[in-house]
């Protein structure tokens, strides 16, 4: 199934630019990495490289979808955007330590191992938590939220109007045969 920029726009319409501009939990920890924040290009690349791991293999068009989504989330320039950047730095520091390369440059298999090595697969999301919990919140779940609240992501599972998507009031009335 093909993901498109339109799907990203749909996901954004529901979720808004980002997390918490005006109120919130995601006060950034002051023990985070102190290197300069990564560029938007690099964040985009890293998020796409992660999406290739956490999205199902039958999807195509991932890069354009992620780019659209991530750009809008970063453009808010708020705590949430800063949290994404910080989580990307955490990923890079981890992969530099273990593999001498930034995360986006690793092979797909190694990327998956790196994410697991960090504990992002078993961690619960937490914007103020451990490195694993932050990567889970700002990178892994950020991407899964974008996908599975979009019509294309939902349709993979059998729900073309998933929670978080304003897909109108027809779909709940349709039976399984009305799906096509």
């Amino acid at each position: 199934m093909e993901l498109t920029r339109r799907d990203a726009v749909a996901a954004l319409a529901a979720l808004g630019g980002a997390g918490s501009a005006t109120y919130g939990y995601s006060r950034l920890r002051d023990d985070g990495p102190d290197s300069t924040p990564p560029s938007d290009d690099h964040v985009r690349e890293t998020m796409s490289a992660t999406a290739e791991i956490v999205y199902p293999s039958e999807l195509s068009g991932i890069a354009a979808f992620v780019e659209e989504f991530v750009d809008a989330r970063l453009a808010e320039d708020d705590d949430h955007a800063a949290g994404i950047r910080e989580a990307v730095t955490i990923l890079d520091e981890h992969s530099q330590t273990w593999y001498d390369q930034s995360f986006a440059d690793l092979s797909a298999d190694t990327r998956e191992t790196a994410l697991e090595g960090l504990g992002a697969d078993v961690a619960d999301e937490d914007p103020d938590g451990s490195t694993a919990e932050r990567v889970r919140y700002y990178v892994v779940n950020e991407l899964l939220l974008a996908l599975y609240s979009s019509p294309t992501g939902g349709t993979l599972v059998g729900i073309e109007n998933p929670q978080g998507h304003p897909g109108g009031i027809q779909s709940y009335q349709r039976g399984p045969n009305g799906l096509e």
């Binding site: 529901a14 939990y25 999205y55 304003p166 009031i169 709940y172």
Partner: protein, 532 residues
């Protein structure tokens, strides 16, 4: 923002939920009205972000509208625990920011539960007294419905909007119910089936409870906005600490503001609309030499007879798709068993869910897998769930009450509310009865039952009733049939706290109808004072 008192106010409304909002809106055209609310004014633009929180597993339900912390602490000294901060929101709009928006009228017998069912007192008013106010309430809230409920109370006027059509899963239930002789019908929703009153049609976000980003679901910001447009002053983050009073009158509401100041708002008339927990608490906090057991509490009934509706539910899985979680509200109900109520069994109503089982996006964020494995888990987990809920009335009991905690105070040093909740056997028996009906329907469908909420697991539906009950006798009730306290001539209460018994329908349409009626009485009372 200026949070100082309004000089020469006619009416001071405490609480900006639907009850306070409607009273303020009704009176704002003719009187100087000030509304004080304990919570903040939330930005409409933030709703998508609140929705994200509703979906993300990190956030609990109370987090969505920022409930919790020292401001909102509470205790539960009774046998039953009570998750109070899941059950209310503080802020402009009140708990309707979080609510689901299902709105039905009480049945005729609900007003005469004592004489027709042998349970609790009769209300001092009848369905006929409220009948003219129900259509107004439906218009104010914006209700989508159809007159197809053969078990409902009489009504003449159509709903302001057409009902939401039944869901696909309703059509599955309908086959089974027809086989079993159970009648299904539409259910009134305070939610726009078409655009209404300047607000959008429902667009199917599916997160109605706890947040509707489109504004298609009614919430009381509608009436607060309207009151403000007519000149009312609305002060947020202004929790009233106590009510200054003489023997027959409230003189002022003393409220705190975020800058640490305390202010005194005087007015001709006070309307307490803080919900069924904070309204009795405020009266108890306002005890004095004249009213040693709490203001307006000569009867001893303030805080007593706390009731909620009990939830009963059964669900299962089918061999086939059921198309759940597209929207966050239900479209079919059955009130067939409602008026079979008597001393042994309570009224009950059935709700056919459109949102049983997991929502894929929520599942996706809380597993230990991703990629193809995750997709496989989502496909296995989503698609064939089906569930039926029910609400059941509980009997008013003196031993079920809202009190003041003995050893815990809030951020202003006031004792926190103690929810001492107990539930009677008739309610528990009726939950079993509801479970039987639910099981019968699901079995007829060939579903495999996978969950049940019965008498052991039941919990509250977050409808706080009974704690300042209405009655004719000042020795056993707090307010009279107009909503005015027996003890104080300028103190009115707008809330489900005045319900002497609860019925089995969600309370807010009746709260709204009573608020409109009370506003009429206040208007009359103010008219009399000014011409005197």
């Amino acid at each position: 923002m200026d949070r100082t008192p309004v000089p020469d106010a006619d009416v001071c409304v405490v609480g900006a939920g639907p009850a306070g909002g409607l009273v303020a809106d009704q009176l704002a055209g003719d009187y100087d009205v000030v509304v004080l609310d304990a919570g903040p004014r939330f930005d409409f633009e933030d709703r998508p972000e609140r929705q994200e929180r509703a979906i993300r597993p990190f956030y609990g339900r109370p987090d969505i509208w920022e409930m919790g912390g020292p401001r909102d602490d509470h205790t539960a000294s009774g046998e039953w625990s009570y998750p109070l901060n899941h059950a209310r929101v503080k802020g402009i709009g009140g708990s309707t920011l979080h609510w689901q928006g299902m709105v039905m009228r009480l049945h005729e017998d609900d007003f005469n539960s004592g004489s027709t069912r042998g349970v609790g007192p009769d209300w001092p008013i009848d369905y006929e007294d409220l009948r003219p106010y129900y259509p107004d309430a439906e218009r104010e809230l914006g209700v989508a419905g159809a007159s197809d409920n053969p078990y409902g109370p009489p009504r003449e006027q159509p709903y302001p909007m057409p009902a939401f059509p039944p869901s696909y899963s309703d059509s599955l239930f309908a086959e089974a119910c027809e086989e079993l002789g159970i009648d299904m019908h539409s259910v009134p929703n305070a939610r726009n089936s078409e655009s209404y009153d300047g607000r959008s049609q429902c667009v199917g976000y599916g997160t109605c409870q706890p947040v509707c980003p489109s504004g298609a679901k009614y919430d009381a910001t509608v009436h607060i906005d309207s009151a403000e447009q007519q000149g009312a002053t609305v002060i947020d983050r202004a929790p009233v600490q106590y009510l200054e009073h003489g023997p027959d009158q409230i003189e002022a509401a003393v409220y705190a503001t975020p800058d640490g100041e305390t202010h005194t708002q005087s007015a001709e008339v006070f309307v307490l609309a803080c919900g069924g927990v904070e309204t009795p608490r405020l009266l108890l906090l306002s005890a004095s030499e004249t009213y040693p057991d709490g203001l307006a509490n000569t009867s001893g009934a303030v805080g007593r007879y706390f009731m909620d509706h009990l939830f009963a539910g059964t669900g299962g899985v089918l061999d086939g798709e059921t198309r759940q979680n597209h929207v966050g509200f239900y479209t079919s109900s059955s009130q067939q068993f409602y008026d079979e109520a008597n001393e042994e069994f309570a009224p009950l109503k059935l709700e056919f869910f459109n949102y049983d089982g997991p929502s894929p996006v929520e599942m996706a964020l809380s597993g230990e897998d991703w990629g193809d494995d995750l997709l496989e888990r989502l496909r296995e987990g989503y698609g064939n769930h089906l569930g039926i809920g029910a609400l059941v009335e509980q009997r008013p009991q003196e031993a079920s009450y809202i009190g003041l905690a003995e050893d815990q105070t809030d951020d202003h040093g006031n004792p926190v509310p103690d929810v001492h909740w107990t539930v009677d056997d008739r309610a528990l028996r009726t939950i079993e009865r509801a479970n039987e009906i639910q099981t019968e329907i699901l079995s007829e469908l060939g579903a495999e039952i996978t969950w049940q909420v019965g008498p052991e697991e039941t919990g509250p539906a977050y409808h706080h009733m009974g704690t300042t009950r209405m009655g004719t006798d000042p020795t056993d009730s707090v307010v009279d049939s107009t909503g005015r306290t027996h003890d104080l001539q300028n103190c009115w209460i707008a809330s489900s706290s005045v319900f002497p018994t609860g019925g089995a329908v969600n309370p807010t349409l009746t709260i709204a109808a009573l608020a409109l009626r009370t506003a009429d009485h206040i208007d009359r009372a103010l008219g009399e004072t000014s011409t005197r």
